[in-house]
Amino acid sequence: MPDSFKHLILCSVAGLASVLLDAPAQAEGEVNIYSARKEDLIKPLLDDFSKQAGVTVNLVTGKEEALLQRLQSEGANTPADLLLTTDAGRLAAAREAGVLQAVNSDALAARIPAAYRDPDGYWYGLSVRARPIIYAKDRVKPADLSTYEDLADPKWKGKVCVRSSDSVYNQSLVAGMIGHQGEAKTEAWAKGLVANFARPPKGGDRDQIKAVAAGECDVTLANTYYLGGMIVSGDDAEKQAAAKVAVFWPGAKTAGVHVNVSGAGVTANARNRANAIQLLEFMASDAAQRWYAETNNEYPVNPAIAPSATLKAWGEFKADTLNVAKLGELNPAAVRLMDRAGWK
């Protein structure tokens, strides 16, 4: 065998061994998190908690469904103490799958409004994201906008850009509408909306905003934090695009703006239960709430905490009061409905 091969093998084996032996401990003074929230948007907060409480925090990030699957298949042996997701529907699904446990904490109940947590304490919302209408300042008068329902009106024909129905944001928006108006009405709305599409759905939320800015369409639906991210983007084109659009809060006279939450629940088999609850309470505290919401341009769940300056500039809105757990329940129906409506 050539020498280069031998060297390669030796190096790799040594390296892998060092990685393998570096297994996560489950000693005391630790808490292990499965997080669907990206590392950048949570790690600094966890570091703060570590410093304050003297508890080591171990983190794995990933997609929520996959993390839930991992939690389920690991069963009683799971090392995870806390499941953190960016979508209330997934938390509700986790509860249903039996991988969460109820936590009764006065501190949490006092700070988090009832619409943003599980009625029995299986999970708690930590930040709120809103999905308003984004419109082109130069072509659309805010007075012409009113509700989500109105976007299906023929006057918007060829003027609506929307992301694919693969996006969980659109799925939960439609699920919310089903919750309020039932399937038949929502399906008729979805068909009307599809008829108004300026182009087949594609791209992410930022792409929709850019399309509005460039004149490909006049209105779109996007989560506020994408617009917030564009305003501070490292890409000048994104900054310029963000300056050409504005936020409209729909539904002042109807159900209100569609909202969803990121949140967390303690796992059923948590070995560090006390630490996990302590971390949850820390994340609901004032300073943490402010940081957690601000780093992603979301709204704090605690109504006493003021949102960031960027968000304040977009004005106040009436949030949908439907319990966010309902969104998860109706999600499959929403996906089927969008398939039927031809929403790609």
Binding site: A23, Q69, R340
Partner: protein, 580 residues
């Protein structure tokens, strides 16, 4: 078949009916092959079975009754999934052939300005993850992008005034995937062209065949097994792609699987969709095998020296240079330049001390997995050569299916059996020793490595098998007759002759693992990130500019191996010649 007497009487030429005795003999031999499963085949079958476990898990899940989702799918989107997947597969296959084969033919059999340089540079697009190229081109070419904006400003056009090809579409996805996947075809084609005997080329030239005719009638058919192997790899990868088609809004099996699983909460129906995808792949593999059947592509003669490169001068040379520059420009230079522009701006903010562990993890995982997979591929490829029992064949093919399945599906297929093993061991330890062993495999690097093996084995196996098929069986026979053990044949005859193929296998897997995301994401341990994970986390938050530094790091980490790879192929030929 019943031949009427008069037809039998007329049948003078082929097809010749097999005499009954010969037919019986053939059947007996075929049965004999089934019967002679000796113990030596068992390890091979065992290893292959383990590697097929994730896919088998998915198939088992698919056997359960699904909810009402199927009816719904059949009524609405299933036809789209099937058609789009089919077009994607065919389109990417054709695209990679169109780019990869002429390029390989030019650089391996001709001499023109920049040839030496193109020889390795043409491999560079391989280092670019498909979804990254999709993001960068969308940024450049979509309605809001700089190109169309400039056009609109220059000519005072508005939206209805002009037509511009839509990048985020099925053809767009085909082009994106073809641009980063063609190196697989190029690589194998080039090795095959270099390997073709000079005698054949000379004979065809003596017979008056021009360069074009020699390419179409001689080089191409002789390179067929390599081309088909390359294209089937590429097509499997295209079928497994999720990032690009999802971003482009093209509904395929892959996007469907996730939609059903995530959106409709139906894991069983998702597994059934995955099973259908496997059916596609299976058809593909059968086609590949059938096309290779019986044909032998090793050289029978001894005269086998490197063909002289045909010089191309003047316009021909310039054309050749341009033809080779195109795929390089679009597949590498443009996306890498876009990444570099973004990275220059965001790197100061994004790069910190956390970068080095990311790089170290990526490189370690990639090199460890590459060696492991190479060893497994050698074991299976060699087992197949020594003991071509149908059961061995079947097991090895089953182990290769993982490549065409989206990484997430493979990962779930790893998660379930590993957790079951952990539970079993834990229960046993509790019952006998009263201690809990907890999780031994789940959530460790071992699980990640296993997923890589299940997914990338075919990449290495294709290369190893292609290498083995070029070694004349008479060499094995001669060595054995001279008293060498099977292990001795491997060590002293095959390994030195295979060195080029082994390097190719090693480096291909290395680059693939470097880019791999979904299995790493789901299976990795706590506090363990890679470059691909970091890129994904930022890109999926639509922070493309912020993700550029890490994407660029993946590309750069892949370039080194790509250059090594090219040198390895260059050496293949000399090694071959060195062994008389």
């Amino acid at each position: 078949m019943t031949d009427s007497p008069d037809r039998t009487a007329l049948a003078s030429g082929p097809p010749v009916a097999m005499p009954p005795a010969a037919k019986r003999e053939a059947i007996r031999r075929r049965r004999g092959r089934w019967r002679h499963l000796d113990r030596g085949s068992l390890p091979v079958i065992g290893v292959a079975f383990c590697l097929a476990l994730p896919v088998l898990t998915v198939l088992l899940t698919a056997l359960q009754p699904a909810g009402p989702v199927w009816r719904h799918l059949a009524d609405t989107v299933l036809a789209d999934y099937v058609l789009n997947s089919l077009w994607l597969m065919l389109g990417v296959g054709a695209g990679t052939l169109l780019i990869g084969v002429p390029a390989a033919w030019l650089v391996s059999l001709h001499e023109f300005p920049g040839r030496r340089w193109f020889e390795w540079a043409l491999l560079l697009p391989m280092a670019v993850p498909a979804y990254i190229i999709a993001y960068t081109y969308t940024g450049l070419l979509d309605y809001a992008g700089p190109l169309q904006s400039v056009l609109r400003e220059q000519f005072h056009w508005s939206r209805q005034d002009y037509w511009f090809p839509e990048i985020r579409s099925l053809p767009g996805a085909v082009i994106m995937l073809a641009l980063v996947l063609y190196p697989y075809v190029y690589l194998l084609a080039r090795a095959a062209f270099l390997d073709q005997s000079v005698a054949v080329s000379e004979v065809s030239r003596t017979l008056g065949a021009g360069p074009w005719r020699r390419f179409v009638a001689v080089s191409l058919p002789m390179a067929r097994p390599a081309l088909i192997a390359g294209v089937s790899l590429v097509q499997m990868e295209a079928l497994a792609d999720y990032g690009t088609v999802q971003y482009f809004g093209v509904g395929t099996f892959t996007t469907g699987i996730f939609r059903v699983w995530y959106g409709m909460n139906d894991a069983v129906a998702a597994a059934q969709l995955a099973a259908q995808l496997l059916l596609f792949v299976f058809a593909l593999l059968v086609f590949e095998r059938v096309s290779r059947r019986r044909a032998r592509f090793h050289h029978a003669g001894n005269r086998h020296s490197r063909p002289r490169r045909q010089p191309l001068v003047g316009r021909g040379g310039a054309l050749a240079s341009v033809a080779c520059a195109m795929p390089l420009l679009f597949g590498f230079v443009i996306p890498a330049a876009q990444l570099a522009i973004w990275a220059l701006r965001t790197a100061p903010r994004m790069m910190d001390g956390r970068f080095w562990p990311l790089l170290a993890h990526s490189l370690l995982l990639a090199s460890g997995a590459a060696l492991l997979i190479l060893a497994l591929a050698l074991l299976l490829g060699y087992g197949l050569r020594l003991r071509p029992h149908p059961l061995v064949r079947l097991a090895v093919r089953a182990a290769g299916l993982g490549y065409a399945v989206p990484g997430t599906v493979v990962a779930i297929g790893v998660l379930l059996p590993f957790a079951a093993i952990d539970r079993g061991v834990d229960g046993w330890a509790r019952a006998w020793f009263g201690v809990s062993t907890g999780l031994l495999l789940s959530g460790t690097v071992a699980a990640v490595l296993f997923a890589y093996c299940a997914r990338f084995l075919p990449v290495a196996l294709q290369s190893v098998e292609a290498g083995l098929s070029r070694i004349r069986p008479s060499m094995d026979d001669a060595a054995r007759a001279l008293g060498s053990s099977p292990g001795g044949v491997l060590g002293r005859i095959h390994l030195p002759m295979l060195r080029g193929s082994l390097w190719v296998a090693l480096l291909l897997v290395f680059v693939d693992v470097l880019k791999e995301l979904p299995a790493t994401l789901i299976l990795r341990p706590f506090n363990f990130n890679t470059l691909a994970v970091r890129t994904y986390e930022l890109a999926s938050d639509e922070r493309l500019a912020d993700s550029a530094s890490f994407a660029l790091a993946i590309v750069l980490a892949g370039i080194g191996p790509v250059i090594l790879l090219s040198r390895a192929i260059g050496r293949t030929r000399t090694d071959y010649d060195a062994v008389p």
